[in-house]
């Protein structure tokens, strides 16, 4: 099992290392513990969202509403805290419940209507956007309880950001669900062959519902961390996160056609994007050129990854020939 895992993510892991080595050489500030924690803080939200996104992608679905799920989640939590004076802990729990409910609604519509997830969640994105703006009227809500803000900004022992702990915890939970539980297996089964899974007694509807529900759950956690980090809630905040998560997952080898991918891959994908952005920013390169470089590096990364997988198979073939003779 471990071997298979290692092989699958080998290509992208190499790309990540190559990037780290490169940036470490060209800019001395890059390779510092502080900067490492910077990067993890910067990608914590997209990383956590990507865990849920990976589940959905593996089942063969997609959730384009995660971006405005974030917006609605943070706006609701913010209003609860500031307008209604709800204690932050309670507000967060309500926010998480809201996230789960949105996810379940997505799942329910998809499961019951058999409409393509892409278009269901695209419509949901528009609806959530409207709702979130309706709540705030486009204005910002800010200045929250210190202990709440600490979640996103403070460190433990002056070094390790609290958000990193959350991030790691979510990765572990996500990996556990996917690799160790019945449902993880069902996610793969559905994504690979929904008919066969159904005929094997997998309750496809329930499992799909679960995937979207979990996606909403993880997204709301990511949203809360982001709110704490920004110390300000605004309806436009989540815009584009569906794209970022999709990019991270797909770069990390999670197939947009379902059935393939791992949490480790998705997180490596997030790290590649995060390191690239951070490294280029620290190098202080012209931002337009940054875009071009980002695109080219992503392209090289995935092409290299795919080709190295193909090559791996070839190498194995040659080995078999030799063994046979």
């Amino acid at each position: 099992m471990e071997k298979i895992l290692r092989r699958k993510e080998f290509g992208v892991l190499m790309v990540l290392f190559a990037l780290i080595v490169f940036f470490s050489i060209v800019s001395p500030q890059f390779l510092q513990a502080k900067n490492f924690f910077n990067i993890t803080k910067q990608i914590a939200t997209v990383g956590i969202v990507s865990v849920g996104f990976t589940f959905v992608l593996i089942t063969g679905g997609i959730d384009l509403s995660v971006g405005y799920q974030i917006s609605l989640d943070i706006v609701v939590v913010a209003v609860l805290m500031r307008t209604f004076g709800v204690p932050w802990f309670l507000a967060c729990i309500i926010g998480i419940i809201l996230g789960i409910i949105i996810g379940l609604i997505n799942g329910m519509i998809i499961v019951k209507s058999h409409v393509a997830p892409l278009i269901v969640t695209l419509s949901m994105m528009t609806i959530l956007k409207g709702l979130s703006y309706l709540i705030t009227n486009g204005l910002a809500i800010f200045k929250f309880d210190k202990s709440f803000v600490a979640l996103g900004q403070e460190t433990i022992g002056g070094v390790i950001p609290i958000s990193l702990l959350f991030f790691v915890a979510i990765i572990i939970i996500g990996g556990f669900i996917l690799n160790k539980t019945v449902y993880g297996r069902y996610f793969y089964a559905i994504g690979n062959n929904v008919e066969a899974a159904k005929l094997s007694g997998v309750n496809v509807e329930r499992v799909q519902l679960l995937a979207y529900g979990l996606c909403g759950f993880f997204t709301s956690i990511g949203a809360i961390l982001m709110l704490a980090r920004l110390n300000s809630a605004q309806s436009s905040t989540g815009d584009g996160y569906e794209f970022n998560s999709l990019t991270a997952c797909v770069v990390g080898g999670v197939s947009a056609n379902g059935g393939k991918g791992t949490i480790a891959g998705a997180i490596i994908g997030c790290l590649i994007v995060g390191v690239l952005q951070n490294g280029l920013a620290i190098m202080n390169i012209n931002e337009y050129i940054q875009e071009v470089i980002k695109g080219v590096v992503l392209l090289i990364a995935v092409v290299y990854d795919t080709l190295s997988l193909l090559r791996n198979e070839k190498i194995k073939k040659i080995k078999t020939i030799n063994a046979d003779n």
């Binding site: 099992m1 298979i4 160790k180 539980t181 019945v182 449902y183 297996r185 069902y186 793969y188 089964a189 690979n192 062959n193 008919e195 066969a196 899974a197 159904k198 005929l199 094997s200 007694g201 997998v202 309750n203 059935g259 393939k260 198979e313 194995k316 073939k317 078999t320 020939i321 046979d324």
Partner: protein
């Protein structure tokens, strides 16, 4: 009028990760002959065909067509050289019409525009030659498997091929259609076409072929003149030991009734009534499209019942989905193995444990040790040939895939098992093993429903046979009344 060598394989090898599919094969085909190729599942028949058709590149060796030597071919070159293929897997595009599928790759044109009229006309002519009524404008998705196969044949012969390769063309066909196909093949032979014919149905080989080549474990074994040999000999070469093709006796006799089906209607079948007893094998016969698969889906709970009821273990069975029927003790081995039976891109282990996953889990956390134990148990008892239980199912041969399907249901220990075409595309050796497993299950007191289009097998295995015609039940034959004639009479709807 069998003539010179038209096609020659020189030292062909094909290696896949962990598998040597073809090992240094040398053989030749003569112009105008019908050359059968037989071998166990996974022997490498399809792989060999694919090197000839250019679908895959051989790792080593050359192919000689009409004296011209190729290191590798492409589908296009191969076809230009006059090779046409009916693959084991469907190569039809479901959303396109029958006519469009027939001319796929070489559409008839009227300037830059598709000449749909001409293609429709040509397709109609082809279907006439094949003596079938198919509207060329019908979408392939709307045709039954049998008719789809006929479209495949039409597609292959539309190319004016010099060499026609047929990889198990009869597998999805029923008796009447097979007869039609025999006639087509005879006609083509008269026209001088060389035919390479692959099948697990040995009677077909003896009915059709001039010569037969046997392949075992990717190696060439021998080539025999068909008229100089017999089934026994061919089987011996195939499996490397003596093996008799027979239907094993069962000791246990049918006992109490476990299921009563009353006036079952829905999913294209109407007013079906029969009962099913523990320890029996209840056969289901009928022509293609008779609705046997549909009936099986109703009983298994994967399709909705419109009216009528099923009494199971004394109570009305009301299930909403397969999960519930499986929990109730019913399981089904579907007819389309690759689409419904297995998940090709998952491992053998994952496939076998899929229906029983919750049983080997605690609070939804999988007990991985137990999972491997269970998999190994069934891998050994069914003798699934594989280097590892972590192998992807897509890399297994058809027979071994079918064993994986069997294993996954045996691991669930059901009371009723529905086998829909359980031996389609499976070699004689594996067939015997599957018959043996079915018998053992019946002896253990399980109730079995077996749908089969293989008349011999249906007669040989069944205690009773339900016959369907156009979605209606036309009769039920008791053991003493079972005969090919009686089944066919009822299957065509005559009373």
């Amino acid at each position: 009028m069998v003539g010179d060598t038209i096609l020659k394989l020189n030292h062909i090898s094909k290696l896949y990760p962990g598998v040597t599919a073809l090992n240094n094969i040398c053989m030749e085909f003569r112009e105008g002959e019908i050359h059968a190729i037989v071998g166990e599942n996974g022997a490498g028949k399809s792989t060999m065909i694919k090197t000839i058709s250019g679908a895959i590149e051989p790792t080593q060796g050359t192919i000689e067509i009409l004296g011209e030597i190729f290191n590798k071919l492409s589908p296009k070159i191969s076809r230009q050289k006059g090779v046409a293929v009916i693959y084991q897997e469907f190569t039809l595009i479901p959303v396109l019409s029958a006519a469009e599928n027939i001319f796929m790759g070489e559409f008839l044109m009227n300037g830059i525009v598709l000449d749909n009229k001409e293609m429709g006309k040509k397709a109609s002519e082809l279907f006439e030659r094949l003596q079938v009524k198919i509207d060329p404008k019908t979408k392939v998705a709307d045709l039954t498997t049998g008719f789809q196969q006929i479209v495949e044949i039409a597609k292959a012969i539309s190319k004016k091929a010099k060499i026609l390769i047929m990889d198990e063309p009869s597998a999805p066909l029923t008796i009447t259609e097979v007869e039609v196909m025999y006639n087509i093949i005879d006609t083509l032979k008269e026209q001088g076409v060389t035919i390479i014919y692959i099948s697990h149905r040995l009677e077909e080989i003896f009915r059709l072929s001039d010569r037969v080549t046997i392949i075992r474990d990717g190696c060439y074994v021998t080539t025999l003149n068909t008229k100089d040999t017999n089934k026994q000999e061919v089987i011996k070469y195939m499996v490397g030991r003596e093996l008799t093709e027979s239907y094993p006796e069962r000791t246990n006799k049918a006992a109490e009734t476990v299921m009563n089906v009353h006036n079952l209607t829905g999913n294209g079948v109407k007013s079906i009534s029969f009962n099913l007893k523990r320890g029996e094998i209840l056969g289901m016969g009928g022509l293609v499209g008779a609705g046997r698969t549909e009936l099986a889906q109703l009983i298994f709970g994967s399709e909705k019942i419109v009216s009528g009821e099923i009494i199971y273990k004394g109570k009305a069975l009301t299930v909403k989905n397969c999960e519930q029927s499986i929990n109730a003790g019913i399981s089904m081995i579907p007819e389309d193995r690759k689409r419904h039976g297995v998940i090709l891109d998952m491992t053998i282990k994952d496939n076998i444990t899929m229906p029983s996953l919750k049983r080997i889990s605690k609070r939804n956390v999988i007990n991985q040790k137990k999972e491997i134990e269970v998999t190994k148990l069934y891998q050994n008892s069914l003798e699934i040939k594989t280097p590892s239980i972590f192998q992807y199912v897509k890399n297994l041969s058809g027979g071994n895939q079918q064993k994986v399907v069997l294993a996954k249901w045996l691991a669930r220990n059901p009371d009723i098992i529905i086998f829909d075409e359980p031996t389609r595309g499976i070699d004689v050796g594996a067939k015997q093993e599957i018959y043996q497993i079915m018998n053992n299950l019946a002896n253990e007191g399980k109730a079995i429903i077996m749908i089969s289009s293989d008349m011999e097998e249906l007669i040989g295995m069944s205690d009773r046979i339900v016959v369907l015609n156009k979605g209606r039940m036309t009769g039920i034959l008791e053991k003493k009344d079972i005969s090919q004639e009686n089944i066919l009479l009822k299957a065509v709807g005559a009373n």
